[in-house]
Amino acid sequence: MDLQLRGKKAIVTGATKGIGRAIVELLASEGADIGFCARSEDEVEETTRSLQAKGVNVVGGAVNVRDGDAYKAWLTETAAALGGCDVFVPNVSAGGGMDSEKNWWKNFEIDVLHTVRGCETLMDALKASGQGSVVIISSTNAIETFAAPMAYNAMKASLITYAKQLSQFVGKHNVRVNAVSPGPIYFEGGAWEMIKGTNQKFYDSTLRAIPSGRFGVPDEVARVVAFLASPASSLITGANIVADNGFTKGVRY
């Protein structure tokens, strides 16, 4: 199956590690030009070199998405440098935590606002594409109780609602909007590697909840995202695709 991603312009936030990195690597392998950002300049440079080796145009930037003005400016510049935007994947997250009320602000500003600002800033370019696709990264924590009543979980849930309603709003412009909700994803340098080291009991109990007894890996999420990003999924919009290897237990009709 040809995903028809060759020559498409994709912008992904938080793309030097983990799921975001796997997404840009796969999209680039499929021939898409890539715009991406992360906070660390060194990591941006390293990722840029890796993607360029695949023979696509790459525009990497060191940006803190929490800084709304800088982030929006970077998006606009990057779309211009790429010559448009067909695919947008807002992937950055503040992660979990229940340290204080500040966690709520942080997850709101980073997980939610950075997604909304990105969609609004890039929407003209996505409309101009004719095959625009937004893939919002949510989490299974949004749809089932997990660990604790964290801001992360509730904010990730709001993204699913936003994806659905945005999809209705921009559908007439042939822009599709979907959410992907990964379950526990293990990768080096990721949260689960740290949890395995710092809280073995929690790690083990999470692993036991996955029927096949293994965590997902970033490539597996990236393949779902690439499909939704591509014109190959032209009928799918407003969906929340759960990619969790059976981690969640609820039946959704």
């Binding site: 660390s40 204080s100 942080k106 990721g190 740290m194 080291g197």
Partner: protein, 452 residues
């Protein structure tokens, strides 16, 4: 040929991770505690003999030439606040009674009644106006002198010619009471030098005891001392601490008898990848300082420095006096071994002290005392002193990290008896272990260090 390539493969599979040196305070930036690196002593690379851990003869030699020569930790001085307060502490076959006198001074005695040899007081703390043996009621005053010997006139030979129970050298330092079984022991400060000066700026006197536990471990007391004298084991048994401390960039310093390492806390081990979020163990450090991890937007590698700055700035307002401590002491573990058996995990806000005591008769067993303390802010209420608990290994959790430490020790002790084991094969990360055994050897040889 094949040997060379397999050796290369072994080294390739076993390389120490590369890392950037942690920023440390310079000697000029440390107001009291010296931070100068001592030159590493030339102690060779030979195995440490395993018989030291198993031999009854060696145990006896340790008793005669070391335990009965050195200064030893006896108790917490706050337990001896009022005249008549006492602590009875056992060491090997001996027991010592340390007593606050009516004039405020301290005295230590062999904890034994001169009549039939009964222990005057069971192990532990207490208070009284006198010490009456619970057998025939021979009674001694707080200063150890005879108060009453029932039916003395029936002792044709009169009372024992000494005036009472035999006293021992005893002094206080650092909020603790110390004794020596050596009547000729020199001053405590000479013995502790230079550690007493190093630890002076910590507010031990403002720290409340939070745990007082003795665990019986099935290993030689030195196996326990060794267990806390290196950080090489962190990657082996404390995976969670690799998201908490730097287990490779240690400064090891050795002194005449004692030794230390300075180990950075609040930072990542180079053995783990930098995570996207602040590790929970490091959050604990931040929260204890009054910082909100959710409000921290800097890279993880800046946390140690920023906690130091934060505590320096806010410590006084929190009722904590850090003025004598250098910045590293506000986050790091200044980890001392006071020879032979006191391990001190020293931090600005707490102290975790371990005392390792030999068993009465069996070189394969020991007593491991855990005393933990927390700095009490000025004006804050003091918690009640915890009750002493005495447990067997494995009966009760002593906390995740110490459970992990304890787990291997019976296996280590069993291995010391194996024909398949030649002795301890130590690396440079374990230099303090080698130094400790060298000091012990000096005592056993009756060398200059032993002339206290």
């Amino acid at each position: 040929m094949s040997t060379d390539s397999s050796k290369e493969a072994l080294y390739a599979a076993s390389a120490t991770p590369k890392y950037k040196k942690v920023r440390r305070v310079t000697p000029a930036e440390s107001p009291v505690t010296p931070v100068d690196k001592t030159p590493d002593p030339e102690l060779g690379h030979a195995p440490i003999a395993k018989e030291r851990y198993t031999s009854a003869q060696f145990m006896q030699l340790e008793w005669e030439r070391m335990w009965t020569k050195v200064w030893l930790l006896g108790g917490w001085e706050r337990d001896l606040a009022e005249p008549g307060d006492y602590v009875a502490t056992h060491l090997g076959k001996e027991s010592v009674l340390i007593v606050r006198q009516r004039d405020g001074s301290l005295k230590a005695f062999y904890n034994v009644c001169l009549h039939r040899g009964n222990r005057l007081r069971p192990e532990g703390t207490g208070s009284g106006d006198s010490f009456k043996c619970q057998y025939h009621h021979w009674e001694y005053d707080l200063d150890g002198s005879f108060l009453r010997i029932p039916d003395l006139d029936t002792f044709v030979q009169g009372p024992p010619p000494c005036k009472g129970i035999r006293s021992l050298p005893c002094e206080a330092w650092g909020g603790f009471v110390w004794f020596s079984l050596n009547p000729e022991a020199g001053p405590l400060s000479e013995y502790l030098d230079p550690v007493d000066k190093h630890l002076a700026p910590y507010n031990f006197a403002k720290m409340a005891m939070t745990r007082d536990i003795t665990v019986e471990w099935d290993c030689n007391w030195k196996a326990s001392v060794d267990a806390f004298n290196e950080s090489y084991h962190v990657q082996g048994i404390h995976p969670q601490l690799m998201w908490y401390l730097h287990d490779l960039d240690l400064q090891i310093d050795t002194y005449e008898r004692h030794n230390r390492y300075l180990i950075p806390f609040g930072t990542l081990s180079p053995r783990v990848r930098k995570p996207n979020t602040i590790p929970d163990p490091i959050k604990v450090i931040m929260k204890a300082a009054g910082m909100d991890p959710a409000d921290y937007d800097e890279p993880i590698e800046n946390i140690r420095r920023d906690v130091q700055k934060w505590k320096r700035k806010h410590g006084a307002a929190q009722g904590k006096d850090y003025s004598g401590l250098n910045d590293d002491q506000l986050t790091d573990d200044y980890h001392y071994l006071i020879f032979p058996n006191v391990t001190l995990n020293t931090h600005a806000d707490d102290l975790m002290l371990f005392r390792q005591r030999p068993h009465e008769t069996d070189p394969n067993r020991m007593y491991y005392d855990i005393w933990t303390f927390e700095l009490i802010a000025d004006g804050a209420p003091w918690p009640d002193r915890p009750r002493h608990q005495h447990v067997q290994h494995g009966d009760k959790s002593i906390g995740l990290v110490l459970d992990q430490d304890a787990h291997n020790l019976p296996g280590v002790q069993a291995g010391m008896h194996s024909a398949g084991f030649d002795g301890l094969w130590l690396g440079q990360q374990e230099l303090r272990i080698r130094h400790f055994h060298k000091v012990l050897d000096d005592y056993l040889a009756g060398g200059p260090t032993a002339q206290t």
